[in-house]
């Protein structure tokens, strides 16, 4: 461990995100406030006013402009930061695609909230899920400390010369955005030290005044195919990079999160449940309780959603007798939840164990201890060969 112990303070997830962004010394920040993310923008503005954030703060009239600005600034070579949620994320959809296509290493916080259709000012992962094919790296975190640590790690990933991709750090609105808990704030010199390897690599291409260069143009036939292939390949490569950076972070700061996925008591488990975000904390508690009852159950916390951590999941799930997936969003057009649908793709590689899909926690409903307990009991019964329901909307059965 190289880093000195940082100051421990109690703060909300949103404040934690703003502190982390400041520590990474972004040069351009453009962000539009939206519930439940507004405090991130307020805190960054306060830092700027106090003179502790030496960045160009650009006031915008909406999220589409915010993403356009940080994308352009990134293409010009700057380190950038933005934050959004729900309606804001979908309002910037075209610029999300553009930023990824330009391979601009933007780091963005997305505070998970339900999306339009039915107006809901409440948590849910539908916003992030709806942008999964945008070509961004998408990471989901569980608590306030992980918000800080993952934002710092996100810069190491985004700006890596072999990756050059935008990274979206997701955390549950309400559950984490407004949750105040004790966090250790790393010292800025230590964050500088952790991000220093980025300065050792070749400089990525950028706009230089006076030079006639285009980015994202020339999208015809093989020019397009080549750019898409490189983008796809970089996203594939980023999965292993997430593990490497997580390990390096652990060695440097003394905290690590398992990289692409956290495997909790899975090694000797017969059955495994998969959850993500703040619900993983609840799930871990229930797994411990069920273990005391003698049930060999484990938990996988999905941290990396894009790219989907295929290899790590295959290693962790191979030979398990049954799997339960808790989704906090809906996959329109498929019977199962989004994460469950994708996990089912791994079936030939992990065996033919039953995979049970659960929809829970939409619109601020809790993914609580009885719910997770029910999931584990049903998955356990399915593992013993009993008939099971393929898809369950937990709140609809209560």
């Amino acid at each position: 461990m190289k880093a000195k112990k940082g100051q421990v303070r109690v703060m909300t997830g949103n404040a934690a995100a703003a502190y982390a962004a400041r520590l990474c010394r972004p040069e351009v920040v453009a962000s539009y406030p939206i519930t439940p993310q507004s405090e991130v923008v307020e805190q960054l503005s306060a830092f700027h006013a106090d003179g502790v954030l030496d960045a160009e703060m650009i006031e915008v009239e909406g999220e589409n402009s915010a993403m356009n600005i940080v994308c352009a600034a990134s293409v010009a070579g700057a380190r950038v930061f933005t934050a959004t949620s729900s309606y804001g994320l979908v309002f910037m959809y075209d610029t999300l695609l553009q930023t990824a296509g330009f391979r601009a290493p933007v780091v963005m916080v997305n505070v998970n909230r339900e999306t339009p259709g039915i107006h809901a000012v409440s948590t849910g992962q539908q916003d992030m899920i709806s942008t999964r094919d945008s070509g961004w790296v998408q990471i989901i975190v569980e608590n306030d400390q992980e918000i800080i640590d993952q934002i710092i790690m996100a810069y190491r990933l985004a700006e890596d010369y072999d990756i050059q991709l935008p990274v979206m750090v997701n955390y549950d609105g309400y559950y984490l955005s407004y949750l105040a808990e004790a966090v250790e704030i790393p010292n800025i010199e230590d964050v500088d030290g952790f991000l220093a390897p980025l300065k050792q690599q070749p400089q990525r291409p950028r706009l230089i005044p006076g030079q006639a260069r285009g980015c994202g143009t020339h999208g015809i036939e093989m020019g397009y195919v080549e750019a898409r292939y490189k983008h796809w390949l970089a996203l594939e490569k980023s999965a292993k990079k997430v593990d490497e950076i997580d390990k390096a972070f652990g060695e440097y700061f003394g905290r690590s999160y398992g990289g692409q996925i956290e495997e909790y008591r899975t090694a000797d488990a017969d059955i495994v449940i998969l959850a993500s975000g703040s619900a993983a904390g609840t799930a871990r508690t229930v797994v411990d309780a069920k273990r005391k009852d003698g049930l060999k159950v484990g938990l996988i916390k999905l941290r990396l959603y894009r790219p989907f951590p295929e290899e790590r999941l295959v290693q962790a799930l191979k030979g398990k007798k049954a799997i339960g997936v808790i989704d906090r969003s809906v996959c329109f057009g498929w019977k199962y939840g989004p994460m469950c649908t994708e996990l089912k793709v791994l079936s030939p590689k992990i065996g033919s164990a039953p995979i049970l899909s659960y929809i829970d926690g939409l619109a601020n409903l809790d993914i609580n201890i009885p719910h997770v307990g029910r999931v584990i009991d049903e998955v356990s019964a399915a593992a013993k060969g009993k008939p099971y329901q393929e898809i369950t909307w937990i709140p609809m059965e209560e």
Binding site: Q164, R204, Q211, H218
Partner: protein, 96 residues
Amino acid sequence: MVIKHKNIFETESAWSNADKLLLCLDTGSWRTERPVLDKEKCNYCGLCALYCPPQCMKDMEDHYEVNLGFCKGCGICAKECPRGAITMVPEGEFVK
């Protein structure tokens, strides 16, 4: 996967050097008619070059000449020329 494709871009992202790569795109092959300039009428005002979407008008110091390797034949130069010095002529007329 065995990749046979030879990279067009030197960079990870789709960056093109406008002088080298961007102008190599064979947009001239899309053309069905081409601008023909009547030098007598041209007073070198530069509006054709200003309006040309792919910026393929070359400054010849007393008039502008179209770069046919690049001109898509959209006809905006002919439409915008205040002196009517540019006529769009079908490509068929130039087939030898």
